[in-house]
């Protein structure tokens, strides 16, 4: 009698070929392109100014210090105010949440309507959205300043939040619409026969199927809002500057000697929130991009 392992001859593992070496070398170069500056920024933020003055930018800190981080967070001067980037952090949060809620709720409902209900002129509407998504912000910036001024939100947190939301709507609507388009027609037909209510079908059937796409859109939006500079500086006025604007002022405005360690720490502090989002939601992001509405 033969057992299961009698004819067990393992296949040889594939060897590394010249082609894969070339790819690895290319990837290593790309990694270095990002990693070296990052390394410099990180080590500098932990150095004392005494060591920085020596000019060895690649050396490790002799004495590790958190002082630059503390200073960047709460004391660094941006213009005439010396409150650190923390003020910007909270301003950015205040911009982030309303604009996320506004843009995601409006675009997902519009996308749902365009994809799954008979909307008159849907094709024309989508073409216009598509065009809008590619209009550069600079072109409509000045009219929008006037417009927000008329409405009375110019120079407020709300102004920045609303502008972010409105500018994101076209592309987000198209993203949602394309996602919902793949929901099988018969599911929608069944729902229309069962309930017939636009909102109830959205709430009970469509929304629970949308987790993946919401995460994708959430990450896109958080990153773009957090990293934005132009909208923040034009619509925020003097008192509602987001973190990026505060950071820029901090780096530029230092009189006398530049505190590179504080600048670096401030830059890192500003970059951490989107990074954190990537780490936490990154896995879902990849799933969300590849997966459709129905797990199959």
């Amino acid at each position: 009698m033969s057992t299961m392992t009698d004819n067990f001859v393992p296949r040889r593992k594939k060897r590394i070929t010249g082609r894969s070496i070339a790819i690895l070398a290319f990837l290593a170069m790309c990694a270095a392109f990002f990693c070296i500056p990052l390394y410099v920024v990180i080590v500098t933020s932990f150095k004392t100014m005494d060591q920085i003055r020596l000019g060895e930018i690649f050396s490790l800190p002799v004495t590790w210090t958190l002082e630059p981080w503390r200073e960047a967070w709460s004391e660094a001067c941006s213009g005439i105010k010396c409150e650190g980037v923390s003020a910007g952090f909270f301003a950015s949060l205040k911009i982030l949440f309303p604009s996320l809620i506004l843009s995601l709720s409006v675009s997902s409902v519009t996308g749902y309507a365009l994809a799954l209900w008979n909307v008159r002129w849907a094709g024309t509407f989508m073409f216009i959205l598509f065009m809008c998504a590619f209009v550069p912000f600079q072109i409509i910036m000045i009219p929008m300043i006037i417009l927000t001024g008329k409405i009375g939100v110019y120079g407020t947190i709300w102004g920045v939040a609303v502008v972010h939301a409105v500018l994101a709507l076209p592309i987000l609507t198209l993203i949602f619409r394309n996602f919902y388009k793949d929901i099988p027609g018969e599911i929608m037909q069944a729902a229309i026969m069962d309930s017939g209510s636009f909102w109830r079908i959205y709430r009970e059937i469509i929304l629970p199927m949308s987790a993946n796409i919401f995460i994708v859109v959430l990450i896109l939006q958080i990153t773009s809002i957090w990293n934005d500079f132009l909208i923040g500086i034009t619509f925020g006025g003097l008192n509602n500057k987001p973190m990026t604007v505060i950071l820029a002022n901090t780096v530029i405005s230092a009189t006398g000697e530049s505190s590179y360690n504080v600048d670096m720490a401030a830059a890192l502090l500003t970059a951490i929130p989107p990074l954190l989002i990537y780490f936490v939601l990154g896995k879902f992001f990849v799933q969300g991009i590849t997966a459709g509405a129905i797990k199959g």
């Binding site: 099988p184 018969e186 599911i187 037909q189 069944a190 729902a191 229309i192 026969m193 069962d194 309930s195 017939g196 209510s197 109830r200 009970e204 059937i205 629970p208 199927m209 509405a293 129905i294 797990k295």
Partner: protein, 363 residues
């Protein structure tokens, strides 16, 4: 109680006319099967009845009420879809409950109905599972359950069994039939499977090219097909259709096949008077041939081309000019026949079908 009536229905998709002047009426408690090849407009017709597609022209009535413009949820219909169309994020229970979303019912009544449907379909142990964790047959039951809870008089089925394997299909066929007998509801059932149609229907509407070719009981459709399309579409193996010419009309009518064989038509019940010299088509069902080869209105002795065993039956194919004639035989009989042998068959009076070669209509 309601009857469903389609009156002068037209349906265009853009410039493509899918249905033209279609009339059909379904009696209360009937099991109507819409049968036809792919793309003939069955789903379109069903969706228009359900309100999921607009009607280009014409009227649909349920009872006396004109429902052509009514919202789907207000039509008092329930539908079972080919892909089951279960809500993927809801449990089985959630799916059944959502079936009642349009009806304003109190919680106790909802629970009672869900429980009743679950027991009837034997899905009680599955109530908390998601559709993704169910087998095809179980999903099908849930889909039927979601329609049942609505407690309506009319159920629509769009090819509900086509995604199941053969054994499950036979089981579910019986279950749906039993369900129909229990609930005494009206059912409109779409399929392109003639066995489903023959076994379940009280009446069949055979469709082709957006036109109803024949509307009758399974027996009528099978025994007296109204035209060549129905004759060829229903029955497996298909009816043998042979070219012939009328050689004499009147009480001693007869026809001649292309090889000169004479057919005695004196017992044939003509619905239209034949003319001498008229080209006709003769339809002979494989199972009506008498393999003893004696008597009948046609006798043929032809060489055997091949034979086939299909489980309980066997089919012998005879060479007739360039065509093949299929003859049903006992498996034992078919085993003894050699390819190339001459085989004598005859065809009894009264089973023969005659069609006008030009119009394709029954004569």
């Amino acid at each position: 109680m309601p009857t469903i009536a389609f009156e002068h229905i037209y349906k265009d998709y853009g410039s493509l006319r899918v249905l033209a002047d279609l009339n059909l009426s379904v009696d209360d408690g009937e099991f109507l099967v819409l049968l036809g090849p792919s793309g003939c407009g069955k789903t379109t017709l069903l969706n228009m009845l359900a309100g999921l597609q607009d009607v280009t022209a014409g009227t649909i009535r349920i009872g006396e009420e004109d429902i052509t413009e009514l919202d789907p949820k207000d039509r008092g219909l329930a539908m079972v879809f080919q892909s089951y169309a279960l809500y993927p994020t809801k449990s089985v229970r959630g799916n059944l409950k959502f079936g009642l979303a349009a009806q304003k019912l109190d919680r106790a009544e909802i629970d009672r109905r869900v429980q009743w449907a679950a027991e009837l379909l034997q899905i009680t142990p599955l109530m908390d599972r998601k559709p993704a964790h169910l087998s095809g047959g179980q999903r099908q039951r849930v889909a039927i359950g979601r329609a049942l809870v609505k407690n309506v008089d009319v159920f629509l089925f769009d090819e509900p069994l086509s995604n199941l394997d053969a054994k499950l299909r036979t089981e579910m066929r019986l279950e749906i039939k039993t369900l129909h007998e229990q609930t005494k509801s009206t059912i409109v059932y779409v399929t392109h499977d003639q066995i489903e149609a023959m076994t379940m229907a009280t009446r069949i509407a055979v469709m082709d090219g957006g036109v109803i070719q024949q509307f009758g009981t399974p027996d009528e459709v099978y025994e007296t097909p109204a035209n060549l399309f129905v004759a060829g579409f229903i029955g497996a193996p298909a009816m043998n259709i042979l070219d012939a010419t009328i050689t004499s009309s009147g009480p001693q009518a007869s026809a001649t096949l292309s090889d000169g064989t004479k057919i005695d038509l004196s017992h044939y019940e003509f619905t239209a008077n034949p003319n001498e010299g008229q080209a006709v088509k003769v339809g002979l069902r494989p199972e009506h041939f008498d393999t003893s080869g004696k008597g009948g209105v046609v006798s043929l002795t032809l060489p055997v081309a091949s034979r086939e065993r299909t489980g309980s039956d066997a089919t012998i194919f005879l060479k007739f000019g360039d065509d093949l004639i299929a003859v049903r035989a006992e498996p034992a009989e078919a085993r003894d026949v050699m390819v190339g042998d001459n085989f004598a068959v005859s065809f009894p009076a009264g089973k023969l079908n005659l069609f006008d070669a030009q119009t394709g209509q029954r004569m």
